[in-house]
Structures are given as structure tokens and as C-alpha cells.
Amino acid sequence: MLITKEEKTFRIITYVLLIFGVVITLLPFLYMISVSFKSQIYTFEYPPRLIPRNPTLENYINALSKDLFGRNFLNSLFVATATTISTVFISALMAYAFSRMQFPGKEVLFYILLLGMMIPPVMLIIPQFIIAKYLHLLNSLWGLIVVYVAVTLSMQTFLLRSFFETIPRELEEAVLVDGGSNWVIFTKVILPLSKPGLSVVAIFTFLYAWDEFPWAHVAIRESSRRTLPVAIALFQNQYLTQWGLVFAATTVASIPVIIVFIIFQRYFIQGFVTTGLRR
């Protein structure tokens, strides 16, 4: 590795900038954690304090001991995991078709798919509700999953297609010369080289399904089948919001999302090294 002087200064600047950036990005999050350890009276004190005086676990105990918190948590986990797996799978198939195959109607279909990203999801809720009712998907976690996959599909397909397009075509030509089919290209070239892209899809789909509120709110009526965001919204009430509780529950709720991220960000590495194609 050649290390020039410029590279060295660049590295120092890198650290400085990163640390600066991290401070800015982390402050609100730390603030949330800090409030979650404060009792109601200190929630919005002035001047604000990051380190709570008289820190208390009371919010966590109250939030976690709500009858259904555990149940709601598991519901969310199930919905988010199932949504993620289905979306990664389905959108990879679609993205491959859109990026590597020729077929009539390709452009039109692609733009129709994009249309799905553009209409505000809130506007679709009433008709979605009616469809879900006739498919008997109301009040069921499956009803959440199919709608989540449908909603997030456009964007994830678009995203994956853009990743597939950055993969040099020479590799495929080599496969074709060797008599390989589309399937070989897909599984042996595109998928392994797209690990970073697939990871991004997994990370963001999980986050979306984990956080989604409006649909989960109207589609699920029974409290034992509710997901976490809906349960947390109930900590607010018309006259008084217990912010400490909300923040504590949100802090707990963010743990799985962080874990998913840590797992998948490991695949943000040079695809070329892992495929062994260079050997």
C-alpha cells in the first residue's frame, strides 16, 4: 500500500470529520436515552441536561411491564422478519428481470412500478382496508406482511436494479461463453456480487416494517396482535403524554433495528474479493 503524505492528512481529516459528524448525529438519540431515564417532572427541564439527575429505571419498568409489551414486540419481530425475507427475495427476482432481461413492456411495467412509490401511502389506506377485508386479512399479521411487501417492493426493486446495473457485464459474457444460462448468471454472478445491495434492502425493509404505523393502526384491532409502534402510540393520551415512557419504549424498540444493521453492514465489503472470480 502506498501511503502518500496527502493520504496521511486525509486520514486525520477523516477522523476529525467523522467524530464531528457522529456528535451531531448522536445527540438527539442520546437525548432520547437520557429522557428515558428521567422521571416525568424532569422531562423538559431548562436548561436541558444530558446526564439525568436522579436517574430512574421507572420508565423502563413501566413500559416493559405493560400487559402486552412483550407480545407486541414479538408481533413486530415476526412481521418485520417475514416482510424482509419476502421482500429481498421478490425484489431481487424483479430487479434481475428489469436490469438484465429483455421483454416487451419492460419500460412501461417499470414506470408503473415506480408509480407505487409516488402516491402518498396514506391515500391508499382506505382501499387497501377494503381489499384486506375481502381477503380476510384484517386483524391478522399476514395482512400486515403482504401490504408491507407490496408497499416497499417498488423502491427495493428500483434500488436493487441500480445495484445490479453497476456490476460489469463482462462477467456475464464470460458465463454465457461457457454456456451458462440466466439462472447461472443470477445466482453465481449477480447475487454474490450484490451482497452489499441485498444487505441494504434487508436493512431498510426491516426498518420500514418495524416502524410502520398507519396501516398497522387501522388493520389490527385486537390489542394482542398489535405491533410495537401502535402500542407505543397509546402511551400518549389526549391530556398528557408520558414522554419518559414513550422514549423508554422507543429506546427498547430500536435495539432490534440496530442489531439487524450490525449484522448486515458486515456485507458492505468488496464483492469482488468474496466471489473468488479474481483467483
Binding site: I125, I126, F129, Y134, N139, G143, R221, E222, A233, Q238
Partner: protein
């Protein structure tokens, strides 16, 4: 060929997907088809749940509400009492967050999946009634007149729309003056203001804008905030029949009421953060001697008690206006029955039960003021209710009209124009009258 494999996998996914849907749908498609066209066929989750367990003869009545934790505990007790008395009925309560309540109900109505009963904010009842979503209780409920004979007229009036009553007042509230005794003492005052003139005088005396100390503050400019002063000054939004706002909202008394607040704002005795913009919260400011007076609803008591245990909470009636009468604004919620309910008779029993003395007292103990005059002063109710119940005798309901949300917005904007000095009070209210007239005619 590998491509074949790919195709098979795709087929597999589709069939699994379709299979899942059919498995979930469970029953024959013919049932769905019939349901599609007829709006009369209703389905509630209660039913679905019931169908699975089958054979149980109990009728399930769903009840949606926006209660707090404490109220929910009391509700559980009330349900137990009810089910004991009516062994054939099962109540299934669902708690929904207040801000999301209306969207949830509307989606449900559109999809014909509504609860049997719900506790609605009083301002929503005319809206849902106009839509045709609610049962007219004075037609369907036996003994309706006897029940409302024992309720406060203010809260009950909020159920009335186009000649019928569409709900029963389940709980009520109103706003009264809360004052900081310590600050009054330091300013040499011993008593809270009795009249509006005293109110203005004291507020000026208690203010020190340079130190950001204000005699009076409000939660914002939406109508609920200035309403107590507005009604105490004799203000009116429209005529009693709700046919015109001209001469009412821009009438002499209404203008005087808003003028009073604008003047207080200008001389610094009303906090400038009434505009919005993030001032110290009303409760926090009151307890930490930043604000000397606020006008608030009964929830002030438990909130102040839990957050500022040291603070001495003092309530008094809203100061009397020039006519020598006090007044305030009515809040609260009504219990309603939805047209989509398949068990209206049972739903009616439940609604009636919520208006029984026992139910009212049980929920009343936790902070929601009962609507029955017969329980006023009951020893089971907290002492601080007395002043609120006294205030309720003269408190007025906001316009019970389906367009209220929009009218509220018009009034909110009018108040903002005045405070910002972009329009005079008269001008702002003249314009508001015109806009409100348009809304009333449309509605």
C-alpha cells in the same frame, strides 16, 4: 435447463402466496360476494373471533375509547359489573390513541368494519351524525328522555344535530381559573380575580415581561384556549339555530372579548408564546412562578400533583364578565352507537349502563367528571371537582356542527391575525363571520 427451475420457483411462490390468501380467507367466496354490495351486512372482529370459538351464545359488543391508564382500570370494573348484570353480553373494549381515532373510525366506516359503540370527543358527534354513521338514540333508545333529564344540559346539547340526539354524554369537563397563590401574595393580592376587570388588572400587576413572567397564558390560539374568557364576556359564534355568524362572532360582545385578550398580549400581561413558538408549558410555568394564572381543565390537578408535588393547586371560577355571570367552555366525550352495529339492542344497554350512577362514579373517581347531576357532591368524587361542577352550570358548548373543525381553524387564524397586528379585531372577526357563514351553508 436452470431456467426451468427458476420458473418452478416462481410458480411455487405464487401458489404459496395464493394458498395463504385462501387459507386465511377460510370461507367460501360466495359469502364475500354478497357482502360486497350490501352495505347492511356488517362484520366486526368480535364476530370473527366469536365464529371461531363458535356456539357461545354471548353477544359481543365492541367499545372503542381513548381512555388513560387510570380510566382504563375503572372501565374494567364497570365492564365486570355490566357483564354480571347482563350475562348474555360481552364487552370488548379497544383503546385507540386520540390523534389516530378519527382516521381509524373513518377507515372502518369505509370498509364497513365499525365498532358497535365508541366514546367520541363531543366535537366529533355532529360530524359522524351528519355522515349517517350514528344511531339516533332518541328514536331507538327506550327511556332516553329520563336519562338525559338527569344530565347537565351543556354536555347533553353536544349530541344534538338536525332534530335528533346521536349520543349520550359519558363524561364532561370544563375549564376554570388556576392561580399561583405564592405570586399573588408577593404582589400583595390575597384573592383571585372575581371579575374580568380584576382579572386584567391583576394580570398586569403580576407581569414582568423583561423577566419573562406573565400574569396569564393560554395553550395556543385554537378556540378552546380563549373560549372561557370569550363566553364569560358574553361572546357568541352564531345564533342558537346555527344559521348565521354575522352579528354574533363579529358582534359587540365577541369583539370585546377578543379585544381584551389582544390588549393583554400587547401590554405584556399575556405571554407572547400564545402565538406558538415554544414557550414554557402552562403547567410548568404556573408551578415555577413564570405564569400567575392559567385557565385549564380538571386534568391540571393530577398532572400538577404528580409533577410538582410541592405546588399548591388553587382553582376558582372563571372571572365574571360585564353581565355579572361567569361562563366557560364544555369539553368531554359522548357514547355513541354506530349504524353498522348488528347488535343495536345490546349496544343500547351498554350505553345506558355507562350513564348509570354506579358507572359514572366508578370512572368519575379517576379524573373524568360525571355528567349526571344526581352524583354531584358525591363523596366518592374528588373534592376539586366541586368548582368544575359549579362552572359546568354556566359553561357553554362549542358550536355542535359537522364543520366545527373547519370553523375552529377559521377562529384560530382570526385570532392569529389580531395578535400579529395584521388585522384589527373587528376586521378579523368580520372576515371570520363571512367564512363561517360559508361553512354553515355548505354543511
Amino acid at each position: 435447463m436452470k431456467e426451468k427451475l427458476l420458473i418452478w420457483i416462481a410458480v411455487l411462490i405464487v401458489s404459496v402466496f395464493m394458498g395463504t390468501i385462501f387459507w386465511l380467507s377460510g370461507c367460501a367466496p360466495s359469502a364475500e360476494e354478497t357482502a360486497f354490495e350490501t352495505s347492511a351486512v356488517q362484520e366486526t372482529e368480535a364476530e370473527t373471533a366469536e365464529a371461531k370459538e363458535s356456539v357461545v351464545e354471548k353477544v359481543a359488543i365492541t367499545y372503542w375509547h381513548t381512555m388513560s391508564d387510570a380510566e382504563e382500570v375503572a372501565l374494567k370494573k364497570v365492564i365486570e359489573m355490566f357483564e354480571e348484570q347482563y350475562p348474555n353480553i360481552k364487552i370488548e373494549p379497544t383503546r385507540v390513541a386520540y390523534d389516530d381515532f378519527k382516521p381509524a373510525l373513518l377507515t372502518g366506516i369505509a370498509g364497513e368494519v365499525v365498532p358497535d359503540t365508541a366514546r367520541l370527543d363531543i366535537i366529533w358527534v355532529p360530524e359522524f351524525a351528519e355522515m349517517g354513521a350514528l344511531v339516533a338514540l332518541d328514536k331507538e333508545m327506550e327511556g332516553f328522555d329520563e336519562i338525559i333529564a338527569n344530565t347537565y344540559p351543556g354536555p347533553t346539547s353536544t349530541n344534538f344535530w338536525k332534530g335528533h340526539y346521536y349520543g349520550l354524554p359519558q363524561d364532561t369537563n370544563t375549564q376554570v381559573l388556576v392561580w399561583n397563590k405564592q405570586m399573588f401574595k408577593e404582589a400583595g393580592l390575597s384573592e383571585p380575580p372575581q371579575t374580568i376587570d380584576e382579572f386584567v388588572e391583576y394580570a398586569t400587576l403580576l407581569s414582568n415581561p423583561d423577566e419573562e413572567v406573565y400574569g396569564y397564558t393560554m395553550g395556543g390560539t385554537y378556540f378552546w384556549a380563549p373560549a372561557p374568557i370569550f363566553y364569560a364576556m358574553g361572546g357568541e359564534i352564531t345564533d342558537p339555530e346555527i344559521t348565521t355568524a354575522t352579528g354574533y362572532i363579529n358582534g359587540e360582545k365577541s369583539v370585546a372579548a377578543y379585544q381584551l385578550l389582544v390588549d393583554m398580549y400587547k401590554d405584556g400581561s399575556l405571554s407572547p408564546y400564545v402565538l406558538g413558538g415554544g414557550g414554557v408549558g402552562a403547567f410548568e410555568g404556573l408551578a415555577t412562578s413564570k405564569y400567575a394564572m392559567i385557565i385549564e381543565d380538571p386534568w391540571a390537578y393530577p398532572i400538577l400533583k404528580s409533577d410538582y408535588p410541592e405546588f399548591e393547586v388553587n382553582f376558582t371560577l372563571v372571572p365574571k364578565g360585564p353581565d355579572g355571570t361567569t361562563s366557560s367552555v364544555v369539553g368531554g366525550q359522548n357514547v355513541v352507537i354506530f349504524e353498522g352495529s348488528q347488535h343495536k339492542d345490546e349496544a343500547i344497554e351498554w350505553a345506558k349502563f355507562l350513564l348509570s350512577e354506579e358507572a359514572q362514579l366508578t370512572i368519575g373517581e379517576t379524573g373524568a367528571i360525571p355528567t349526571l347531576t344526581t352524583v354531584q357532591g358525591n363523596e366518592r368524587l374528588p373534592e376539586y371537582y366541586d368548582v368544575f361542577m359549579e362552572q359546568l352550570k354556566t359553561a357553554k358548548a362549542r358550536l355542535p356542527h359537522p364543520k366545527w373543525s373547519e370553523i375552529d381553524n377559521v377562529l384560530n387564524n382570526a385570532f392569529q391575525y389580531m395578535l400579529r397586528g395584521e388585522k384589527t379585531v373587528q376586521q378579523a372577526l368580520d372576515d371570520a363571520a363571512e367564512e363561517i357563514n360559508k361553512l354553515i351553508v355548505e354543511g
